[in-house]
Symmetry: D2
Subunit: 146 residues, 4 copies
């Protein structure tokens, strides 16, 4: 896929650095290319729900933010993206050392970008798919109110 | 709707008290009845994304957890619920003093409970719908692995 | 809600009359107003799946088309709508005399319109909710390719 | 993936043969294996909506039924599956000679089976992805009411 912004890596990193909730949760960029992104989250007790599994809200946050970054990698410097529709299937309860998420753009539209995110829980050498999500983002101009 | 647990209020409060991520985000129970729940979140800078709006992950966390509590209000003492499917439409970018979410069970099944969550952003006397979500939860026995 | 087309009733009826698959399935307009629509489908053997219940595809067709008509009731004469995102929960297996669907716009955006559809199966005086759906439609100009 | 029914091919074909709505629409099995299925639909005027594109209801019917067959390929002879949750993104308006759908099981649970369907529109040698869907099905025993 072709990006419209030579600077997309810096844009993706900058969003992570300046989004307080992503800092709070602890998500970081692992890698990014035109139309895809990978992010990671080392798991800590604060990410869990009452039974010791990762909270669905943590999984949603990671799936959504990685998808937004995959979409961001394609848009022009005067554009930004905002999640419009989000769905996920929680395939297995997640417990492990860290989460890894890969998001890919499946429809790089000029107004709507559709992405898919896969979230894996990683423990040692084992990686298990725990979430499949599809996120549709609206492409807006920087001067536009969302 | 009829609950199978006289003690459901305590169960819902107990889950909030013992779910570290819910404590971290700052979500609290506003009210709960058989088949419904309302939760609130006073908004702080840590809940935002890079443009100053509430992060989609915060909205998802609130929508999911309130739905789980609405479902919890119906199950038997030896059962618990786990989100299986989650979808949400982000209707408007959210900015304001606090979030309020109301979740209602629309299908109280013995194996699957289907719920709907509406999230409002509140500023002064104004309340604006920002998210509609539907969450389907699996009903499990306490001895069952998820 | 306010329509931008005085002629919306005729537009909604015209789409039903000229959409071959809607004629094939047998769906008809029951009522329509600005931001909402109701449609009906008398159930026949051809609508069923292998176990004698209404096929999920019939329910999806009715939920989608009624939602599209609710959205159509709001747009300008030089605009049309196209489904972009569709989700539904199948709450109960459907069996009965006819289906009735009510769709309502919950976000009347200029680019995206978000709707909710509820499908009921009706037998005699009894009406049972069988599907809840949320459909997001893109608003396009008539000269635009979809 | 491992099937629990040696006879799964016949089961999948039998469902297509005995589901009136699938006969009505004209869907046929292209191929099936343990945990996946492919189906086809030669496009006719009756499958279209008012603008000459394939109706979203046709796409949903194909995505859902192929997913159900992929799930059916895994269950035991005394079990059957029923769609519980369905979501799809309509990536592009579809026009062409025929539709082809491939569905794959991504979570072969004993109570819930999660599948993904991709629908392509085919014209001559060109095949274009038009829909991505995720369908979650409940596994029921044959004696159980749905």
């Amino acid at each position: 896929m072709e990006t419209r912004s030579a600077n997309y890596r810096a844009m993706v990193q900058d969003i992570v650095d300046t989004a307080p909730f992503i800092q709070e949760v602890g998500i970081r960029v692992a890698d990014v290319g035109p139309g895809w992104c990978e992010m990671e989250l080392p798991l800590l007790p604060r990410h869990l729900q009452q039974n010791g599994y990762v909270h669905a809200g943590v999984l949603a946050t990671l799936a959504d933010h990685t998808a937004g970054s995959a979409a961001t990698s394609l848009v022009a410097p005067n554009e930004y993206v905002l999640s419009a529709e989000f769905n996920m299937s929680l395939l297995r309860a997640a417990k492990g050392e860290r989460l890894r998420c890969r998001a890919e753009v499946i429809k790089p539209g000029s107004r709507l970008i559709v992405t898919e995110s896969s979230v894996y829980v990683v423990s040692g050498e084992q990686s298990t798919l725990v979430v499949k999500a599809r996120i549709t983002l609206a492409v807006l101009e920087r001067r536009e109110e969302p």
